[in-house]
C-alpha cells in the first residue's frame, strides 16, 4: 500500500490552507428601511419584500 514517505512540513500544510477562504455574504440595501438584507429575501428588519409587507415585525 502506498504510504507517505515523510511528514508534511508546517509550511506545506499552511500553504495548502492559504486558499481556504471564507467568502463575504452578498447583501443588498432594503429599499424601505435601508438596512442590509439578503437578496431575494424578505427584509429581516422591516419585513417587506418587493414593496409589500410579508412578515409583520413589531416596533420597539
Amino acid at each position: 500500500m502506498a504510504l507517505p514517505k515523510r511528514k508534511k512540513s508546517r509550511a506545506r500544510r499552511d500553504n495548502r490552507r492559504a486558499h481556504w477562504k471564507a467568502t463575504a455574504v452578498t447583501y443588498v440595501t432594503c429599499p424601505n428601511c435601508m438596512e442590509p438584507m439578503l437578496p431575494h429575501h424578505a427584509c429581516p428588519s422591516c419585513g417587506q419584500y418587493k414593496g409589500r409587507e410579508v412578515v409583520h415585525i413589531e416596533e420597539e
Partner: protein
C-alpha cells in the same frame, strides 16, 4: 440521467412524506400562509396548485379528491367556496413563496408560502392591488357580490404604505 425524476424526497418514506404534505397543505389552506423550510415550500407549490385546480373543477369527484388530500372537512369546503373562487382567470401559480432567511437552531432556509390574493387585515396590499383589480373586472359579471368584499379590505392597512414611501 435524472429524466422524469421530479420532486424532492425529504429523507422520508413515501407514507411519511405524504402525511407531511397533507398536513402542510391543510394548514396552508386553513391559514392562507404558512412558514416552512424553503425546500418544503417549493414542493408545496405544485401540490397546492393541483388542489386548487380541483377546487375550480367542482363536482363530486373533485370534492372527494380534495377530501382525500386535505385532513379537515372544513378546510376542504373552504377550498371550493372561497379559495378556488379567487382564481377564475389564473391557470396555476396560485401560491407565492418568499424567502425569510435562516432558522435558529439548524440554519435551515425558511420561507413563507401564501395563497395569492389573500386579504387579511393588518397586511399590506400595495403590491397585490393591481393584480386584484384585474380579477374582479373579469369576474364582475359572474359574481359581483363576492368580489368587492376582498377588494375593500386592502384599503384599511394604509399605514404600511406610508412606511414604504418614507
Amino acid at each position: 440521467m435524472r429524466h422524469k425524476n421530479a420532486g424532492r424526497k425529504f429523507n422520508r418514506t413515501p407514507a411519511h412524506r405524504k402525511a407531511m404534505f397533507r398536513a402542510l397543505l391543510t394548514n396552508l389552506f386553513r391559514h392562507e400562509k404558512i412558514e416552512t423550510t424553503d425546500a418544503k415550500a417549493k414542493e408545496l407549490r405544485r401540490l397546492a396548485d393541483k388542489v386548487i385546480t380541483l377546487g375550480k373543477a367542482g363536482g363530486l369527484h373533485a370534492i372527494r379528491s380534495v377530501a382525500s388530500v386535505v385532513n379537515d372537512a372544513e378546510v376542504a369546503r373552504k377550498i371550493f367556496t372561497t379559495i378556488a373562487k379567487r382564481f377564475p382567470d389564473r391557470l396555476g401559480g396560485y401560491t407565492r413563496v418568499v424567502k425569510l432567511g435562516r432558522r435558529m437552531g439548524d440554519g435551515a432556509a425558511m420561507s413563507l408560502v401564501e395563497i395569492i390574493g389573500e386579504t387579511k387585515p393588518g397586511k399590506k396590499d400595495k403590491g397585490k392591488t393591481p393584480k386584484g383589480e384585474k380579477t374582479p373586472k373579469a369576474a364582475a359579471p359572474k359574481k359581483p357580490k363576492e368580489k368587492p368584499a376582498p377588494e375593500k379590505e386592502p384599503e384599511k392597512p394604509a399605514e404600511p404604505e406610508k412606511a414604504s414611501e418614507g
